[in-house]
């Protein structure tokens, strides 16, 4: 439990320190996932690289020419207070804030940190999957962008080089008549670690689902993923309860494999995934045609 703290001068310095001291150095932003891991003895770093000084550079939400860029050190609270919340296309983020940790956690946890946990319980990874987001990385060999699904390669496994830091998350503003929804189910209503979560991005035309992206905490791997078969089946389906439900009931079990653990059985998780998917698609679809947040 004993570690030293390194305060980097800038992003380059941070990358270099992390690279030189890998794997004994880890970056810390809000620490809401890292500190419990250290306390539980699951991680024993020698150095924590404190990124708080880089907030000026890496905390932002910009929407320009149809592209959204979110700085890695943007806290969940800051994300919630940004221009994203006013956009009809991104109403799903409002669902997400409501169930993300609790007030204390939201003020500390960051977008980059949440992506960096690489676990199925990371709500933003689920949402970014639905938005086909790309993640910006910066390391000793320069910067690059990698798709969210490629980066989050496995449970607590990020496909990146030592010294590479997450700098931003980028995704497109969806086409007109699109909106999003996010639903997380837990055993209680506050500070929920989800049993199942789903994010949906739906584009509607003439009362029919023109396009849909459906992401879950887990599909068939131990990290968030997309239900491609179900998405394909939903294209062209009318935005109606029974119609959407029927497609999901038929397709989802073909591509989703849920495990049982002490918290819930696989059968329950699969069942509830179908229910939540239907509800998320319908909500996103109704929002897409001007139904507002409460659609």
């Amino acid at each position: 439990m004993l570690f030293d703290i390194y305060i980097p001068r800038d992003l380059v310095d941070a990358s270099e320190f992390l690279y030189r001291n890998a794997p004994d150095a880890v970056p810390i932003a809000g620490g809401t996932d890292l500190i419990p891991m250290i306390r539980d003895g699951k991680l024993r770093p020698k150095y924590l690289v404190d990124l708080s000084g880089l907030k000026g550079r890496l905390s932002y939400v910009s929407i320009d020419s149809g592209v959204v860029r979110v700085g890695a050190l943007t806290t969940i609270n800051a994300l919630g207070a940004s221009a994203l919340t006013g956009m009809e296309a991104f109403l799903g983020f409002r669902d997400l804030y409501k169930t993300f940790g609790n007030a204390a956690v939201r003020s500390l946890a960051t977008v980059g940190g949440n992506v960096g946990t690489a676990v199925s319980a990371a709500d933003l990874i689920v949402m970014f999957n639905a938005l086909d987001a790309k993640v910006g990385l910066s390391g000793v060999n320069g910067s690059r962008y990698v798709g969210i699904r490629e980066l989050v390669a496995g449970k607590r496994l990020l496909a990146k080089e030592p010294g590479e830091l997450i700098t931003e998350v980028v995704f497109n503003v969806p086409p007109k008549n699109s909106s999003t929804a996010f639903i997380k189910l837990g055993y209680r209503e506050g500070t929920i670690i989800g049993l199942t979560s789903v994010a949906a991005l739906v584009t509607v035309r003439d009362g029919v689902i023109e396009d849909v992206k459906l992401a879950f905490d887990r599909v068939d791997r131990r990290v968030p993923g997309r239900a491609y078969l179900t998405e394909k089946g939903l294209k062209g389906v009318p935005l109606r309860d029974e119609a959407v439900g029927e497609v999901i009931n038929e397709h989802l079990p073909r591509e989703m494999r849920r495990k049982s653990d002490y918290r819930a059985s696989g059968a329950y998780r699969l069942h509830v995934s179908k229910v939540l998917a239907r509800r998320a698609v319908l909500t996103a679809g109704r929002r897409a045609v001007g139904g507002g947040l409460g659609a």
Partner: protein, 784 residues
Amino acid sequence: MGALLDASSLEDLVREVLNAEPSSYLVIGRRVRRYNALDMVLGRPIYLADKLGSVGGVVWLKTVRSSYAHALIRGVNYSDALKLSGVVGVVTHRDIPGFKYVGYVTPDQPLLAVDRVRFYGEPIALVGAEEPEIAEEAAERVKVEYDPLPVVLDPIDAMKPDAPKIHDRGNVFAHFKIRRGDVEEGFSRADVVVENTYRTAQQEHAFIETEGAIAIPGPMGEVTIIANAQEPYEAQRLVSSVLNIPRSKVRIVVPMVGGGFGGKVDVVMELCARAALAAAKFGRPAALIHSREESIIGHTKRQSTVLKYRHGATKDGLLTAVEGELIYDGGAYASSTMFVLWRATVHSVGPYRVPNAKIDSYAVYTNKVYAGAFRGFGNPEVAFAVERQMDVLAGRLGMDPVEFRVRNMLREGDETVHGQVLDHPVGLPEIVSYLRRASGWSRKRAEYGGGGSSGVRKGIGFSIWWHGNSLGVEAADYVAAYVMINKDGSVTYRPGLIDMGTGNLQGHVMMISEILGVPTDYIHVEEVDTSTIPNSGPTVASRSTVVGGNAVIKASIELRRRVEGVAAEILGCKPSDVVIKAPDVYCRSNPGRRVSWGKLVEIAYWRGVPMFSIGYHYVPRAEWDVERGRGVPYITYTYVGAVADIEVDVETGKVRVRNLYGAFDAGRIVNRAGAELQVEGGAVMAVGYALMERVIYGDDGGVMNTDLSTYLVPTIKDASFNIKYEFVEKEFKGGAFGSKALAEPAFLAWHTAIANAVAHAVGANVDELPITPEKVLKWLGVLG
């Protein structure tokens, strides 16, 4: 004042002294801000861990714990641990000079494991170091060699004749009975017989502050231990027996405690002994404070149970017979489970007239974390099972569940199943009447239930129950209270019972205030200190107000009399004519004759009047015939009732509590704000117990959910239900100011009403707690 002064004549004395009717009491029955509310809210350093700042040279202790649920210990090797820089030493059972075994009732539990461990996480040794992180790392270096033994986690398995023996004397360690009439005759007369088995899970107290002890050795072989102990006097006894020193050399001090609920009774006694052992060995203060994970696996849990009931009733809705086989899983060690079992047995048929009863209750060892005291103490489990049975019976009879209760419930003058005549007011009729009205019962019962659109089904459930006050036959039931008027007129109160956040001592402050005639903010409450206050037993069983209050009253009346006497002389009127409304003191008949409180006190001191008093109250021992389960188990009973109005999402199985209605006959309410918060807090805790709380075990006997992200208690978002309740204030003459117990009863009827409401919504028998979403889908037939 005589310890054996009858409680009800004490009540008359209070009236005489105050010369006032209850409706004109200044503070009793009102909402008064707690004496330390500001300290708590401002985060002042009043708790155990805050005391560390003033103790120098502390050795931090970390417990080495078993990684097997059942095993023989072949050897403990701590040479690697000693090599780590900063380690002060290691303590094992070999360092114990006195008695090695502990246990609240039966000493079946080693303070530190000797040759065998019986639950995953059982303490084996203590490592002491200069820093807590060093102690933790050193503890990981202690190597223990085990010979694993078969693990038994199910109490039904543990009762089988070929089950592995967890203790040499066998796995059933207590058995209580009730025998009344002839149950077979009763069942033969019944038109409807209902038989079911109910299961409840282990519950964790999850108090905000974890348990701990700081032992400070003194120069003369004595030891002072600061600990958050609900039973400081038993802690004193245990330290004395373990260290082999007289109790006069053991001083336990209890600061403000951050929640107890029964979970800080025996474990803290053990921590006191372990810390004192280490302090004696190292010759330095030693601190042993549990982390949250250690707290969850390392202190007593609420027992899990398997309760089999058979009920018979006539078509007129009258109970004819009740048969029960009640199994309480005590985990690895006995702790207070025997007492829990006894209370459960006493309450096992509910507040109903039952002509024929045959109850057999068993306490069973398993290799789970040991079980002990938790709010309700055995009662919540039988309440759940019986109130479900009553609903199922009502359903079979085609009768409204409330009407069915009314036909069978006990009234004043009735005889309980144990033959006790209820010679005190029984508030059940008023409770039922309020609940019917407030909840809109009849309308909702007809409207809700089965069927329903948009994937949501509503349900409404009803329950009543009872709770015997104070300790019954568990132990001698006495409390002391020391009140002193300082020379400047301020008042010092030294309680015998601790403050663990329930508001109990605030009730005492209000009693002192009312009787002496001083504002509550004149009164300073000291920490409990076994060197300065006589043995007052445990702060449990909701006894602080009803029993503890009587000790406070006696001390206060004595002081009042003395001060009145002096005032009468100075002012020239009769003592009964003296009005004390500090800072003013005057004659009722001639208000012009007055003296200030401060001056009066000063004069009293000058005259050599003793300005201190110890009140001591003793409750006569209860009677209980072990063979037949007959007697007078409790001095009185608190009666409670609740209605829960819920809705079930039939697709996810999630239950949402919308409205709760409650009614409580806890005698006169003394600390009204405290009482209200007990009820509301009890409701939140019951939502947890009913819907989400359970300790989950892996096959190896280890607990899976060892922190608060995986052991789920309700958050504020889970407490969004509306709640309405009423106190039916039927004065009990034996209780201080006419009060009865409330702290545990405030928790007792909510979970049963919720379970009954869910059963109404899903149209199936809810036979298990907690009611998880997956179980709801099973009951709905949606999932297998």
